[in-house]
């Protein structure tokens, strides 16, 4: 805690708040930039809806990641879990299982993967990185087996509706993302388990000595993350109307990036849902905006990395001076 004195930045409360919210600013700057470039398009209802639709599933998976990152862990298996969940739901429906049962089964799969992660990390003391890297590998293998390496499709219409249906012309996944985010936010903020997660992320030993059931809490975090990721995977399958063993694999790293971007939003520097959503927003706006400007795919990738660095650096300015 010998971080720093803010002593030398006096009298500039506004400036400070701005720096603190560097990531938020980065998002605003990005939006402003793309709006300036294409005022006719960028902030239109259609395009905003577009962006939200595109990031809705990432938002859900990043929500799952936020939970475990509050504890100071990682879950590298969220993407794989979501993939497997989609595949399981798909395979069951194709086999004739009713939609609700198939979805429930997919969520149970997420629960099981999460439980395995939790047991490995909380009770067998494996580092979260290795444990979830290993489950990721196995889970993708299982997804290949479930899909037999092909892309499953031809799901019942009511299933696809979950991913493609609209209310007030806004796609359902956007609503789902909002609901899941609010739930996770409330879980983190208002519940005892959420408090314990924060405490564990702050200092495991202190938490343990204060009577927090550290192992159980960690187990819960990974389990919930598994279920949430599975839900994201089910939505992805419904959104695409198909399920394969590879789809959604980019969500793992993107979710970690979103959480990291979001961690810079609050003073304590902890993983937080609001920040994560800002991070998801940055990722979504960036990709949509660059597409709209017609930037070459490879250049887009270069720019994406640079923007992430700029966003985080901007918000890091506050802690830099020592």
């Amino acid at each position: 805690m010998t971080k720093t004195s803010t002593g030398r930045i006096t009298g500039t409360a506004i400036g400070r708040t701005l720096l603190q919210g560097g990531t938020v600013i980065a998002l605003i700057v990005l939006i402003g930039f793309f709006f300036a470039m294409r005022p006719d398009i960028f902030l239109t209802f259609v395009n905003v809806k577009n962006i939200m639709y595109q990031v809705s599933i990432l938002a859900i998976i990043a929500g799952a990641q936020t939970i475990v990152m509050v504890l100071g862990d990682f879950d590298l298996s969220v993407g794989a879990t979501s993939t497997l969940a989609g595949a399981v739901a798909g395979a069951l429906m194709i086999g004739g299982t009713p939609v609700p049962v198939a979805i429930a089964a997919a969520l149970v799969v997420g629960l099981i993967v999460g439980l395995i992660n939790g047991v490995l990390i909380a009770y067998l003391n494996l580092s979260a990185f290795v444990a979830t890297l290993a489950t990721m590998t196995s889970v993708i293998g299982v997804a290949f087996i479930v899909t037999e390496g092909t892309t499953l499709f031809n799901f019942p219409a009511e299933f696809n509706e979950l991913g493609q249906g609209k209310i007030f012309n806004v796609p359902l996944p956007v609503y789902f993302a909002i609901v899941v985010s609010v739930l996770i936010w409330a879980l983190l903020k208002f519940t005892t388990i959420g408090r314990s997660w924060h405490a564990i992320g702050g200092n495991v030993e202190v938490s343990r000595l204060s009577g927090v059931k550290v192992r159980r809490a960690r187990l819960m975090a990974f389990t919930i993350a598994g279920v949430v990721a599975a839900f994201g995977g089910v939505l992805l399958a419904a959104r695409l109307g198909s399920a394969s063993a590879v789809q959604g694999s980019d969500n793992t790293l993107l979710s970690v990036a979103a959480v990291f971007l979001g961690m810079t939003v609050i003073k304590s520097g902890m993983s937080n849902l609001g920040g994560t959503m800002v991070g998801v927003g940055i990722i979504g706006v960036m990709s949509n905006g660059l597409n709209i400007l017609g930037v070459n795919a490879y250049v887009q990738q270069v720019v994406t990395g640079v923007i992430i660095i700029l966003a985080v650096t901007l918000s890091g300015l506050k802690t830099r001076e020592r």
Partner: protein, 302 residues
Amino acid sequence: ASGGGEAEDKPFKVIAFTSGNQTPVGAWWVKAVTAKAEELGWELTMIQGDFDFQKMNPAVESAIAQGADAIFDGYTDYASISSITAAAADAGIPIFAMDSGVEPTDAFAINVTTDQQGIVDSTVEALSTQLGGLKGKNIMVIGHDPHAGIRERSGLAFDAFKAAGANLAGGEIQQVQSPATGRTEALALVADYLAANPNGLDAVWVGWDDAALGASKAITEAGSSAKVTGVDATSEAIAEIQAEGAFLATIEQPWPSILETVIGYMLEFQKTGSLPSSNFETVGTTLVDKVNAAKITPSDKL
């Protein structure tokens, strides 16, 4: 590794490898080659690379070092395996290949692949018919450069549309970064393009069906009337074509018959020790549209 033409008592030793075993066609190939080898009494070493050359190449080369009569490459571009082709050349073992790159190379005794120009001709033709000519039409081409076949045909398609007087959306071939996320990437590409250019798209030509399915979804969702073509004839694409939505047509590549052809060359080599006269052969493909869709065997159901 003295090649074919030897006594019947020693089994014919074949090393088969593919980097594409995680795709449905690749998985089919592994099974088909294994079954064929069984039937022909070959001693087969099958190596699957999961797109990881760092893992596959050494495995193949070490098999080469242990001796073989012939090598069979399925769906692995020769550019990625020059260490294998070098090792095979040193050991004097011929490589028989199918769909392993799109131009002739001395690295292979034979490479039988599909006629990329033919694929482009028939898909472009189908779009032209559907749209009533291509002149002034707005068309997006989506490709994926790391895949030699897709790169070749998307380049040809781009040229064909340009020649026909179409406007090419974005001015260049749109690239999908990773085949794993091809469908979602294509979906976002087309959705974003349509947001920026409502009614600005008449067609999307995509180099393979998985991504084409993302493009057709984006079109449907945006309420656009644009049409999409793909390549591969996956079951899903065929179903979409039959549903008569945005997905107009795809291409069936005759993998089983290509496999037969290559095996034929290998048997010839086994018997007589002679190699095919040309090292490159292309095979015609079939356009799959709503007319013949029902009769096509999907590539993932081979």
